[in-house]
Symmetry: C3
Amino acid sequence: MPHRFKGERTLMRIFIGEGDKHQGKPLYEALLHLFRERGIAGATVVRAIAGFGSSSKVHTEKVLRLSVDLPIIVEVVETAEAIESVLPDLDEMIGGGLITLERAQVVMYRPANVRQSQAEMHRIDGLTADDS
Amino acid sequence: MPHRFKGERTLMRIFIGEGDKHQGKPLYEALLHLFRERGIAGATVVRAIAGFGSSSKVHTEKVLRLSVDLPIIVEVVETAEAIESVLPDLDEMIGGGLITLERAQVVMYRPANVRQSQAEMHRIDGLTADDS
Amino acid sequence: MPHRFKGERTLMRIFIGEGDKHQGKPLYEALLHLFRERGIAGATVVRAIAGFGSSSKVHTEKVLRLSVDLPIIVEVVETAEAIESVLPDLDEMIGGGLITLERAQVVMYRPANVRQSQAEMHRIDGLTADDS
């Protein structure tokens, strides 16, 4: 189903800490689970090397190499309705952080069949789920 | 060419997999080559630590340390015309992925002469090219 | 001060090089200091794995493993006025780079009290400062 996803969408970006937890596991993994359960089209998690924000402290990878609290950015591109539907969950799950919404035009989305079969080999219990 | 670039521009973000290939080499490197050939002003490649998307699998750096299929984001800031001119190539080169376009205002664009001479020292065949 | 921050804001993204310096220290650290001094709400620093731009050279983490000139992206979400107030400083501090502004809607801003006390333990001289 190539090109199933064209049009105006919302880019949600969630800024949290790498050390943030939700029910004992990393918050960003819990967010990925939530998004999968809700049928969100995709999510991408980027780790920063430095930053400050809600905690008003400056963290850097260089100086705090053992710290697990570097900033994490979780990004989702979806319809405005899909984004709004998960905001109450995010409100409960995120202890401290920042969420921004931007408008984005999606020009291409196409499942990668080759990568899918490759990914099959790396299936992780509890972290993967089948496409519907 | 300082300040040739100020004003309203388009931010293109391409979400692919680190393991994606184009003619035997990493797709993100092929995209960098394409953008250079077309005179695109710049591009930046960021590797995510986790994510799911077109293949609908959750990948994490932690569990799949050997995986080469972590999400990759390639970003380009250019005129709308320049972005549109490369979209047909992207459509051919990208097997599975997502492309978003956003509006961005450029308030500073400045070549780095000092860094350029430093970069000279790291010249790589096939991966570098001179400024025009 | 939960929710002090909702509404329309500006996302500033600064593209520089990891090797860029300001008064002998990494430019991105100098930018974090500047933003802290000016009361900017937060900043996040991401390191890219490849890219080209103002210097028109392609850098890749793979080939240039020892290079310290990979692209760096510094992001700030703030009011338009706060962003504009720091632009003259950025103009002086940044030798070569790109700055873009985008509109972003903030839907959640929440200090992390738990993380704050944790961060206390990692205080670094010269890199941290108290909340006002």
